[in-house]
Amino acid sequence: MKKAIHFILSALALLFLFPVIETFFLSFYSNGGFTLKAWRELFFDCFIFYPMFWNSVLYSSVITAGSLFIIVPGAFGLIMVKKKISKWIFFLYLVLMMMPLQVTLLPNYIGLRDLHLLDTGMCIILPMLFSVFGTVLMHQYMENMEISQIEAARLETNSVFRVLLHIVMPQMKSCIYAVSFFTFIESYNMLEQPMLFLKNKRLQNLTVFIADADQYTGDILFPASVIFIVPVLLFYLLLHESLQQNVCKLTGGCL
């Protein structure tokens, strides 16, 4: 029975991996044989790819790092303020989290237009810094935090920042990794925001490049997709242990 389940799960895993494997092999396939033509076309014939790739990396990195500065204190504040208002704020966060992206796009657009930030890198970074999902996830994780340690620390210092840095953050390590990973993925994969907020192609990201791949000459779609996958894959592999621990803790089970 166990073997059968393993077999079914492995088959399913392969099925889910199939598009990735296919993309990889198709990037080396053209006119019925193995060739590096598509890679050559991407690297040496499509220079717009480079700024778009670096934009993806830059936007995602800045958003991931910047959002942690907002998520961690935000979630900590919601946990520590034992008043009704914090529950209401958390409820609002949940409502916001449930909202589809398309609903928030127009208010974001209007806000960015009024701030004269459209067609700049900031119009991508700024709205994404305030990740609702990250705050909710961090809040849920912090509910299981050792409050006694914080109370003991408060006897030693009045600085909330020091308590956050020396007591809360070490306990939140695996959750911070998880939130970083999810934020990175979310910002790395964003498509609608750069398409709507950025007219300048040199400021757009790799997702837009792949979505518009038919505009470019040559078979660049597959090699571009392979390169697109690599940073996320590397980021996942670097964090996967912490990520698994965190998911185990949140779900109460183990992967």
């Binding site: 040496f44 014939d45 220079f47 717009i48 480079y50 470019y216 390169i227 590397l234 592999l237 670097l238």
Partner: protein, 139 residues
């Protein structure tokens, strides 16, 4: 150990992309034909009429003056600006023309689809119609 390999792979990956970001254009341009181009000048030539009934008559007309080297081939390549993958690039377009008689070291262009575009005067290799080129300068 596994983490070290991963970190090295990550650094290598970004280093490779960084390398291509900086050098891909130079590598590509090194593989393209390098040409010297110059627009042909308009000059007044004495043209012999070949129309029936007027054969042998001569008249003065302003024509583009093409150097002897290009006139012998009866074809030259002009530079055409085009767009490729969101970038402006230069292509060559073959123009077949009819030269007239030589005057002061140059031949008049009597016919052909030429309207004063830069003409490839010198190239480091044989050109093909529609090929992308790099302009090094003027002769």
């Amino acid at each position: 150990m596994q983490k070290k390999i991963l970190i090295v792979t990550t650094v290598l990956f970004f280093a490779v992309v960084c390398f291509f970001t900086i050098f891909a254009r130079r590598i590509k341009e090194a593989g393209l034909p390098h040409v010297y181009a110059e627009a042909l000048r308009l000059r007044t030539f004495t043209i012999e009429n070949t129309e029936p009934g007027h054969v042998g008559e001569r008249f003065r007309q302003k024509c583009y003056a093409v150097p002897e080297k290009l006139a012998k081939k009866k074809e030259f390549y002009i530079l055409v600006q085009g767009e490729k993958n969101g970038e402006e690039v230069l292509f060559v377009k073959k123009i077949v023309f009819t030269p007239g008689s030589m005057e002061k070291g140059a031949y008049p262009v009597l016919s052909g689809d030429y309207n004063g575009e830069p003409v490839v005067m010198k190239s480091d290799r044989r050109l093909r119609d529609g090929e992308e080129v790099v302009v090094v300068g003027t002769t």
